[in-house]
């Protein structure tokens, strides 16, 4: 499942849904819907993927995860030489580690201590903070990022699953940017 789906939250939700409802289509669609942010994630890779064959593009988008995508974009912001090779290499590492670790978790997970206590889960938050820093281009991003973050936190606080809240926050940030661009054009 980890190798063919390669989407953590979708896998967890689909398994949970199937466990409660026993409906194949409902469980799969509930899981897949959590992956809607990948429309934006993969769309943003269009420049990185330019020049690759269709087969390689399809491989690249399958092995792309949140972490290696964000790392690729952050490193690319520092050095434009970073591109498809970096994405593919980090993606292969990602899907290999993801598949191996979920398999290990299924076999020995029950006997492991609570790794969250040692900050393992927080490591991803810290990594994304660093990647956001890498994507920072200047003051013009400040307000849209605050709007996006505030709407994401509000959505989660109102009970929306994190995966949907990320889509809501991103869309609100884009709407804010579009409105500002329109306002600036009118001003000019």
């Amino acid at each position: 499942m980890s190798a063919s789906v390669h989407a953590g939250s979708s896998q967890i939700v689909a398994v949970e849904q199937f466990g409660t409802t026993q409906t194949v289509l409902g469980a799969a669609l509930a899981g897949a819907a959590l992956n809607l942010r990948y429309i934006g994630i993969v769309a943003s890779l269009s420049e990185v993927l330019t020049g690759l064959s269709l087969r390689t593009k399809l491989l690249a988008i399958h092995i792309t995860g949140d972490e290696n995508w964000a790392l690729t974009m952050a490193e690319r912001a520092k050095s434009p030489d970073v591109g498809a090779k970096f994405l593919l290499g980090s993606g292969l590492v990602m899907i290999s580690v993801w598949t191996a670790s979920t398999t290990a978790g299924a076999v020995i997970g029950a006997v492991l201590p609570d790794l969250e206590r040692f900050g393992l889960g927080f490591a991803f938050t810290a990594a994304f903070i660093a990647m956001a820093r890498g994507l920072w281009r200047g003051q013009s991003q400040m307000l849209p990022w605050i709007v996006a973050a505030a709407l994401t936190i509000s959505s989660v606080s109102l009970g929306l699953p994190q995966a949907y809240a990320i889509v809501v926050g991103t869309l609100c940030g884009l709407v804010f940017l579009a409105s500002r661009r329109r306002f600036e054009r009118v001003e000019a």
Partner: protein, 98 residues
């Protein structure tokens, strides 16, 4: 594993990959349109939202760890250094029950 289990995995794999293909097609079209600026803004917005979602509703030690990681990110602009600082502060607070 029953046939239904395999069916869930198969349908989910197809649906998840289809979403990625929609992104691939959309990316090409948006890049060629007057809205290409969207593709430059989406990465930062999604990453910020990923951080915000992981902090929402979390206890104060998570926010302190995030603040420390933010400081390290601003100073170093390095992923590994930021992770090390953030995890040490977070784990220190959690393990000491602060």
């Amino acid at each position: 594993m029953t046939g239904s289990h395999w069916a869930v995995i198969g349908v989910l794999a197809i649906a998840a990959f289809s979403i990625r293909v929609v992104g691939l097609i959309a990316g090409g079209r948006i890049r060629a349109s007057r809205h290409s600026w969207v593709l430059d803004e989406v990465p930062g917005l999604i990453v910020v939202c990923l951080v915000a979602a992981s902090l929402a509703g979390q206890p104060v030690q998570t926010w302190i760890g995030a603040a420390a990681a933010f400081g390290a990110a601003v100073l170093t602009n390095n992923v590994i250094a930021t992770m090390i600082v953030g995890v040490i502060i977070y784990a220190g607070l959690t393990m000491n029950g602060i």
